[in-house]
């Protein structure tokens, strides 16, 4: 069953077309990878789905209802969460309080319930220094914090925007386990990633974007042999 459908989605910034007529369907329970060279429109796509950017044309359907014009703060309440490519912790809050914010407003919990949920999520992610302020946390902890704040909202669909960037090999292995366990929890996940080994290990299917357009779609092994995909990454031969 499809849970999220992007229909002819287009976003332009003035003359620059960042996302061009994109059609993507997300099946419930799958992990979809979105790959593509820098500037392909991956993060723009995330922003359009999360509602932090307005679409220029096209439609977004979530569980068959049209959410194209739904404000961002309501999208997270119906079940679409995202992490930010560059971590954006709230600096005046401790790690735990950062997570509490999500539980308070996305789920509408009371303060004590929210603290409970936040603890639970942090334990699940093995984020230990919950009382530290973000400036004292490591990159890995900050990445976990991004995920914690997103999943405490109980998302049905989760967009992970380059959560592996900046992690070492060992941390990456742990992060892959985390993403897999989120899938086991029943979340539908969209991974935007540059690290191909991660994509091949995690995803059921990938979509390749180049200059805002979908140029290939399918299982990773198949797509990675596609000539247009190779050309997009390495440049074309004359």
């Amino acid at each position: 069953m499809k849970i999220l459908r992007l229909e002819n989605l287009t976003k332009n910034f003035g003359g620059l077309i960042a996302v061009n007529n994109v059609n993507i369907e997300l099946q419930e329970g799958e992990i979809l990878g979105i790959i593509g060279p820098n500037g392909a429109g991956k993060t723009t796509l995330t922003n359009l789905v999360a509602g932090t950017l307005e679409v220029s044309s096209g439609k977004i359907f979530f569980q068959d209802s049209d959410i194209t014009n739904l404000p961002a703060h309501l999208r997270v309440r119906i079940g679409i969460s995202r992490t930010f490519q560059t971590v954006r912790p709230l600096k005046d809050f401790t790690a735990l309080e950062n997570v509490v914010v999500g539980a308070l407003f996305a789920k509408g919990e009371s303060l004590s319930q929210a603290r409970e949920s936040a603890y639970k999520v942090c334990r699940f992610l093995k984020l230990e220094r919950v009382d530290s302020y973000p400036d004292k946390l490591t990159v890995f902890e900050l990445k976990k914090l991004e995920i914690a704040r997103a999943i405490v909202c109980n998302p049905k669909v989760l967009f992970l925007d380059e959560v592996m960037a900046g992690l070492n090999f060992e941390e990456m292995k742990q992060m892959i386990q985390i993403v897999k366990s989120l899938k086991d929890e029943g979340m539908t996940i969209c991974v935007i990633e540059h690290v191909m080994s991660v994509i091949s290990e995690l995803t059921d299917r990938v979509v390749v974007l180049d200059r805002g357009e979908v140029i290939a779609e399918g299982p990773y092994l198949e797509v990675s042999k596609n000539k247009r995909v190779i050309a997009a990454y390495l440049g074309e031969e004359d």
Binding site: A50, H73, V76, V100, F105
Partner: protein, 303 residues
């Protein structure tokens, strides 16, 4: 526990102050508390990340609304304070829908401009406001008894302090601090940014309106230039900065320090006291970036 007993002690002291203090001290304390409420309300808006320069404007609106309510509509003086608050809140609701789409400098300048607009309106709607000559209150509140006025202002101050603490201890704190830190993250966590900004703008404007109404009752007079005076913006801002922003104790400490300093300096040097006053403010901002309260808090925490 020590904190609680300190608060109870301070409240008891404040309540019984008029029984032993002279008229002069009662008057100074009343005026400091009014400014303290303005400082707190300005800080409460700042906690959302929005720098408002509209404090004097809503103060003046409340003052005018209260005097007009009593003089022209025979409302009781105590009731008129609520009218001042409600009037300021309604205007904030109407204007907030537009100005709260602005951010940073643009929001600050627009709120400052609103104050001038209110003043021009007060000067020109002479049938209602008495125009440039101003308007006199015929029946002073509590027949002008300074002790009763003091207690009225004290009750108001306690309400404002309690409100400020509600802003610090409930989900409101999580919403407004998130908005101040990062609006994109706040949105992505399900916070309705506009709703919270409007809510805080209305509450703080109501506080400013009530403060203006009480001030008008106390002095029984409003006049465009002095009622919308920039003093009702600059002094509260200075108090909050000197005491420490983003907290309840900060503006309170700042109001007490600057309030008494200015009284003392006035006696010491009747003419040059504002220069010294200005120097105190500049020095605290340069050397105590987090204000008096914020710096003490940091010292205690780092021990």
């Amino acid at each position: 526990m020590r904190k609680l007993s300190f608060i109870i002690g301070a409240v008891i002291f404040a309540v019984f102050l008029p029984t032993f203090a002279d008229m002069y001290l009662i008057h100074v304390a009343s005026s400091i508390m009014i400014f303290m409420c303005l400082a707190l309300s300005w800080d409460m808006m700042l906690r959302t990340g929005q720098l408002s320069f509209g404090t004097a404007g809503f103060f003046g609106l409340g003052a005018y609304a209260a005097i007009i309510a009593v003089d022209d509509f025979s409302v009781s003086p105590v009731m008129s304070i609520f009218i001042g608050a409600i009037f300021a809140a309604l205007i904030a609701l109407g204007l907030g829908v537009a100005v709260l789409r602005l951010r940073e400098m643009y929001f600050a300048i627009t709120t400052l401009a609103l104050t001038s607009v209110f003043m021009v309106l007060a000067r020109n709607l002479s049938n209602l406001t008495g125009g440039a000559a101003g308007k006199i209150l015929f029946h002073a509140i509590f027949d002008g008894d300074p002790k009763k006025i003091y207690w009225l202002i004290l009750s108001f101050a306690i309400v404002v302090i309690a409100l400020s603490e509600v802003f610090e201890r409930t989900r409101i704190k999580y919403a407004i601090s998130s908005i101040r830190n990062d609006e994109l993250v706040a949105k992505s966590c399900g916070i309705n940014i506009f709703k919270y900004l409007l809510f805080v703008f209305i509450i703080t404007s109501a506080i400013q309106g009530a403060a203006g109404a009480i001030y008008a009752q106390q002095y029984a007079f409003v006049e465009p230039e002095s009622t919308f005076s920039s003093n009702f913006l600059l002094l509260p801002v200075a108090m909050a900065l000197v005491g420490g922003i983003y907290s309840t104790p900060g503006p309170i400490v700042g109001a007490i320090v600057l309030g008494f300093a200015s009284e003392y300096l006035k006696l010491l040097m009747p003419y040059g006291h504002l220069i010294i006053y200005g120097i105190i403010i500049i020095l605290t901002i340069i050397f105590l970036r987090k204000g008096v309260y914020g710096t003490i808090l940091d010292k205690v925490r780092s021990k």
